[in-house]
């Protein structure tokens, strides 16, 4: 995917008697633009946004302790986004299109785990201090391969045909939008439109940590699970043959094929991984709120914001982006309605896009 050529050519409209003067100015302009596009400038921009958020929260009279708690919640929320974002960025990198149905995969993961919990014989006792029992852990390990397979099947039925036709990016985007609605309608038909909890009426008290931080054990579990999966994925990408082949395919599919890599097989593995990570994100997101048919769609904007901020196709960038998005979204809830959380994520995304369209970690 090439950079938009109009990015550089859009404002050299100067000609006539002032052309020479304008050219000189443009050089300064380019220098300023280059400075703004540097990683430092973006880090500063993000820092300014975060400081503005904290200041606004202070004006609204939010205490430091609450801010600290919000930040930690933001990190756990960010780790949920990260699981979605890393899967999405892998697909973006290897198959090269924005998968709008990723939110549907997240939701599907939550529902598969919910089904496991409901069909579990007898109610499983909670693993104190966590609010859930072994049934949910089993649900998680069922949901990950199931959703991975669903993603793989969708690829084989739809996206592979488009790849064979060498279809344009738009047709891929349209097809993934269609798959998003297909998944959602299947979810509605199978499970209905009601909201569910994994366990109804089970208390989940917050633990009191030093500095008066209030956090639930489930949130720590979320954090731990996300870290484990991200580290495992990192090791896989860096150390294994599959990971190397995946990175090669993402970089240059033709060259990868010449080197004897079966790119279709690699794409299949990427879908499996992407779906499995989305499912894990969905299961722990359902733990944090409720299981509902639109939960994944709600996450879609923060997920895309994280992916784009980090640089498309870059798992490390997606992780960083997800943490930034998660923290800003939670901290912003100290002074505006939480309904606007996605708007904050979105604003950050636009700032990054304008300064550096290739994202934080892009080249």
């Amino acid at each position: 995917m090439a950079e938009d050529p109009s990015y550089t050519s859009s404002d050299d409209a100067a000609d006539g008697p002032y052309a020479e003067h304008a050219a000189g100015e443009q050089r300064i302009g380019e220098r300023i633009r280059a400075a703004l596009a540097s990683r430092t400038a973006i880090a500063i921009a993000i820092a300014v946004v975060v400081i503005a958020l904290v200041t606004l929260a202070q004006i609204q009279g939010t205490g430091w302790q609450r801010l600290l708690s919000l930040t930690i919640w933001g990190i756990t929320f960010g780790s949920i986004i990260a699981l979605g974002a890393i899967g999405l960025t892998l697909i973006y990198g290897v198959v090269k299109f924005p998968n709008f149905s990723h939110g549907g995969l997240v939701t599907l993961g939550a529902y598969v785990a919910y089904t496991v919990v409901t069909v579990w014989p007898g109610q499983s006792a909670a693993l104190r201090p966590l609010s859930f029992g072994w049934d949910l852990v089993v649900g998680l390990f069922v949901a990950m391969p199931v959703v991975g397979l669903v993603a793989l099947v969708l690829d084989r039925l739809v996206y592979r045909r488009l790849r064979r036709q060498q279809a344009s990016l738009v047709l891929f985007a349209m097809a993934s939008l269609a798959m998003a609605f297909l998944l959602r309608s299947v979810l509605y038909i199978t499970w209905g439109s009601d909201f569910h909890f994994y366990y109804s009426g089970r208390a989940n008290p917050a633990m009191a940590l030093p500095f008066n931080i209030r956090i639930q054990a489930d949130q720590l579990f979320t954090l731990g699970l996300a870290i484990t999966l991200v580290v495992a994925l990192y090791l896989m990408l860096e150390r294994t043959r599959l990971g190397k082949a995946m990175r090669a395919t993402a970089n240059n599919p033709e060259l990868a094929q010449i080197r004897g890599i079966n790119t279709e097989k690699i794409i299949g593995w990427t879908w499996l991984l992407s779906g499995a990570l989305a499912a894990a994100g969905g299961v722990i997101y359902g733990l944090a709120s409720q299981v509902r048919p639109e939960m994944g769609f709600y996450l879609l904007i923060p997920i895309f914001a994280a992916v784009i901020m980090g640089g498309i196709g870059n798992p490390r960038g997606a992780l960083a982006g997800a943490l930034i998005v998660g923290v800003t979204q939670q901290v912003s809830s100290a002074f505006i309605s939480p309904a606007y959380g996605p708007a904050i994520a979105f604003l950050l995304m636009i700032i990054v896009l304008l300064l550096r369209p290739q994202g934080l970690f892009g080249h």
Partner: protein, 413 residues
């Protein structure tokens, strides 16, 4: 034939005439009278053959179809002619609908103010509301376009999807703006007084007497005329625009951006213009929707109904072709409405399997439309009507002249 059937046939003949004149493809002098005759025949047949309920269902179907056709035309300017991947139609549609509602309703006072809150209510006429909706739609489109249009196409899709979702949330959460989560009621219907008794004061006595059989329940027979007029004016303007030099620059920018830049065209400006023109049309469509429904709230502007369906319509009809956009809109709106009957019909069968399943039959419609879109993407991405290759009316005229000469030549030999 009763009085009210005659009146209805006369009213129906007007939109049918406009539609028929667009479909028949000959010169104007033949097209208009032939269209009129066809329209009168179809209208008379419709009122005699169909029963009251079916007829009024078809009329409100045509109203919604027309509104969707307008949205598809707006998307066609953005996507068909300029390749902007706009996944945020719902946002511009909502902006248009709420703008017109705020402009044409009265600000609530007294006891009503406890139930309805809105930032202002100007009680302006319908046309002012519609113009304002178009203007605000255009402004919002401009605000989106300037920062993101120069970015990659897939970024635009994500950005517009996000903007639409934020707009919906604003209308959902800000009660002071347009009653927040509560519906905004009482949006006036233009020319509604014609159907009342006594009819509007400005109508001459004979017209008032003639229209007496109409009841307020028959209002859609009037509104379908308004929608058809707006649709036709938009269509003609767009057809003119895309065959003008502006339209050629637009397509040139879409297909060969570097070449267009080298020819000295301001590519960025043209891209922004096309996005704004689409935004204006979507705003106007929102305004027509608000006056049609009378009561609107944020939940009407979910991506499914206001973005996804429009994309399916344009893809099916054929992007880059205004006739295709309108055709696709009516076909998909027909499929969408038709599947409501289908799910009603199979509900008893589903009930046998499980009562849960029957209550969820409505979602089968989503499934069907999603499959339709998948089918289009996989098997006929260019749509029913492919893009017309003639980009200039001068070329069209020259070709016609040539064909004419050819015919003369044939006759001579």
């Amino acid at each position: 034939m009763t009085d009210d059937a005659v009146i209805k046939a006369a009213l129906l003949a007007i939109p049918l005439w406009i539609g028929a004149s667009a479909v028949i493809r000959t010169r104007w002098t033949i097209r208009l009278p032939a269209g009129l005759i066809a329209a009168i025949v179809i209208a008379l047949l419709a009122v005699t053959v169909l029963d009251r309920g079916t007829l009024s269902y078809l009329v409100s179907f045509a109203c919604m179809g027309g509104i969707y056709a307008l949205l598809a035309l707006g998307l066609n300017v953005q996507w068909g002619y300029a390749a902007h991947l706009n996944f945020g139609i719902a946002g511009l549609f909502a902006v248009g609908a709420f703008t017109t509602a705020l402009f044409t309703t009265a600000a609530p006072t007294g006891l009503m103010a406890n139930y309805t809150q809105q930032v202002f209510g100007l009680e302006a006429p319908f046309l002012v509301g519609m113009a304002a909706a178009g203007l605000v739609g255009g402004i919002v489109a401009f605000v989106i376009a300037v920062p993101v249009l120069r970015l990659r196409m897939d970024f635009l899709a994500i950005a517009t999807l996000g903007v639409a979702e934020i707009i919906r949330r604003i209308f959902q959460n800000e009660r002071w703006l347009a009653n927040g989560p509560q519906p905004l009621r009482g949006i006036p219907q233009p020319l509604h007084c014609v159907t009342e008794n006594p009819a509007c004061g400005w109508l001459p006595d004979w017209a008032g007497d003639a229209l007496k059989p109409l009841t307020p329940g028959d209002y859609n027979y009037l509104y379908v005329i308004i929608i058809t007029l707006v649709l036709m004016v938009t269509y003609l303007l767009l057809e003119h625009a895309v065959r003008s030099p502006w339209g050629r620059v637009l397509r040139g920018t879409r297909d060969e951006e570097d070449a267009a830049t080298m020819s000295g065209k301001n590519v960025t400006a043209v891209r922004i213009q096309s996005f704004v023109v689409g935004g204006v049309i979507m705003g106007v469509a929102g305004s027509l929707y608000a006056h049609f429904l009378v009561t609107i709230d944020y939940s009407h502007f979910r991506p499914l109904f206001a973005t996804f369906l429009v994309w399916v319509m344009l893809m099916l009809g054929g992007s880059g072709n205004n006739r295709g956009a309108i055709l696709g809109a009516f076909i998909i709106w027909g499929v969408w409405s038709g599947t409501a009957f289908l799910t009603d019909a199979i509900e008893p069968a589903l009930n046998v399997i499980s009562s849960d399943l029957a209550s969820r039959a409505a979602y089968l419609r989503w499934l069907l439309v999603a499959l339709v879109l998948t089918g289009i993407v996989l098997f006929r991405p260019q749509g029913i009507l492919a893009e017309e290759t003639i980009v200039s009316r001068h070329l069209l005229d020259r070709r016609r002249r040539k064909q004419g000469q050819h015919r003369v030549h044939e006759r001579a030999t």
